[in-house]
Amino acid sequence: MALPGIAIPDQAAAPKLQVTNLGVVFQGNDKTIAALDNINLEISDGEFVCLVGPSGCGKSTLLNAMGGFLSPTSGSVSIDGELVSGPDSRRILVFQEHGVFPWLTVEGNIGFGLAKLSRSERAQRIAHYVELVQLQGFERSYPSDLSGGMKQRLQVARALAVNPDVLFLDEPFGALDSITRVMMRGELLRIWQAERRTILCVTHDIDEAVQLADRVVVLSSRPARIQNVLTIDIPHPRNISSPRYLTLRDELLKMIGLAYEI
């Protein structure tokens, strides 16, 4: 869906996800709040993009609009040229915490979106993703028996199992302790490299962004606009003490407006 004034280079390199002039305004009882203002963003197939920005700036609103959970006040979101108009299993959101269904087992959660498959296909798919997120042995456990990190891996598995075009992660590791968080980053990278999905990840963690992303998009405070885009041109696995890494990290901190000499 080519829009006037927006140049699309050629069909082969057409973006997987395209956000055009996106704006969201919330109508409260006695005040209106502009959450997003004129967001333009293109993400290509298989790319890993991180969104960072001050807290409360509207990062989650942006994800919700892209996922079809709320309809934008202006502008549009399209995936593979198709307009997003509502929630759909081709785009799956992974929530911060408690997003797994506590009344279903690990298998039940992963199989949640697979009702249309035959029994054997479903079992196969579940087994594959149990292995991918390394929850073997916990197939019949309930989420209450899992640790925070395991629950988040389960959520990622449930999302990937339905073969989505795009995966949206909303501060997926925000509620985890810092050691688990570092381990989960490695897990997520491994899964991403194995499955090659397009991932858009909201985070408030600078290191997470620089370690994971191909590109980091920096949002301004409310109403959120795209302030800067930083391309992380380091191949995986990334050495977090390499000069290039540290330079990019400093650059990102500067973009966010944080003094890094504390």
Binding site: F26, Q27, G28, N29, L70
Partner: protein, 260 residues
């Protein structure tokens, strides 16, 4: 996305009005279609309400019912809240007493009527005793669970500031448990209102419950039966709303923030 204010007002008033209108219409036409002589139509109930309002008996009945509820409920509060606080404060006491409470609780207050007549004869005290029985158990349970669900952190913080047991109870535990206690009190007040009507149908000869049973027994005045039921409903609703206002007082409101 949130709705605008105008839409809200429209929904708040129009939708219930439509629902009530539909109910009245269904009621009216089913009375017409079945051709019943006994069951009243909405219109005759309305006339019944007006008739009751003009007779001072209604006001006497209302004040009788309310008086019984207020006294019985107040007695239940005075006994139930301290007892519940004690049980919540001393878990070992709770363990000992709780089975007795659990055993007494499922006995319908109405089933106590014969016993209450022995002790109090027929009349107000008997009815008040029944209301007391109906509302005291929920109050005890609410107060006890209110105290036991106060985070231990609060207790330790209180001790930290060198409070004595009595001070701790008064300045930390009670305010912390208050929201839950108030919810328990409101539920009990609702139960008291259910019980008073039931008790008045059996044990005394005044009050709204008596009005219901008397309207039926003396001449099958079903229009007055339904009219009295509606008045019971309205007064119960008013009692509940008044209590909800109390819950909204700022100093006790902290516990309700999530619920609001």
């Amino acid at each position: 996305m949130k709705r605008s204010r105008q839409e809200n007002l429209l929904e708040k008033w129009l939708l219930p009005l439509v629902a009530v209108a539909v109910l009245l219409a269904v009621w009216h036409y089913s009375v017409l279609m079945t051709g019943t002589r006994v069951f009243p139509s909405p219109l005759s109930v309305w006339r019944g309400i007006l008739e009751l309002l003009h007779k001072h008996v209604l006001w006497a009945d209302i004040s009788d019912s309310l008086r019984r509820v207020v006294i019985g409920f107040a007695a239940a509060t005075v006994v139930g809240v301290p007892l519940g606080l004690c049980l919540g404060w001393f878990p070992s006491l709770h363990q000992v007493v709780n089975p007795v409470l659990e055993l007494l609780r499922p006995i319908s207050p109405i089933a106590w009527i014969p016993v209450s007549i022995i002790f109090f004869g027929i009349g107000d005290p008997a009815a008040i005793f029944l209301i007391f029985l109906g509302s005291v158990f929920p109050i005890v349970v609410a107060a006890a669970s209110g105290v036991s669900s106060v985070p231990p952190l609060f207790r330790r913080a209180g001790r930290n500031f060198g409070l004595t047991n009595a001070q701790l109870l008064r300045r930390v535990i009670f305010p912390a448990a208050l929201p839950q206690i108030l919810i328990g009190l409101r539920i009990s007040l609702g139960i008291a209102w259910l019980v008073v009507v039931a008790a008045e149908m059996i044990a005394v000869d005044s009050g709204l419950g008596y009005l219901v049973i008397d309207s039926r027994n003396s001449g099958k005045r079903y229009d007055l039966v339904v009219a009295a039921m509606l008045i019971i409903g309205i007064i119960g609703l008013v009692l509940d709303s008044v209590f909800r206002l109390v819950e909204r007082i700022r100093s006790v409101r902290w516990g309700f923030r999530h619920a609001a």
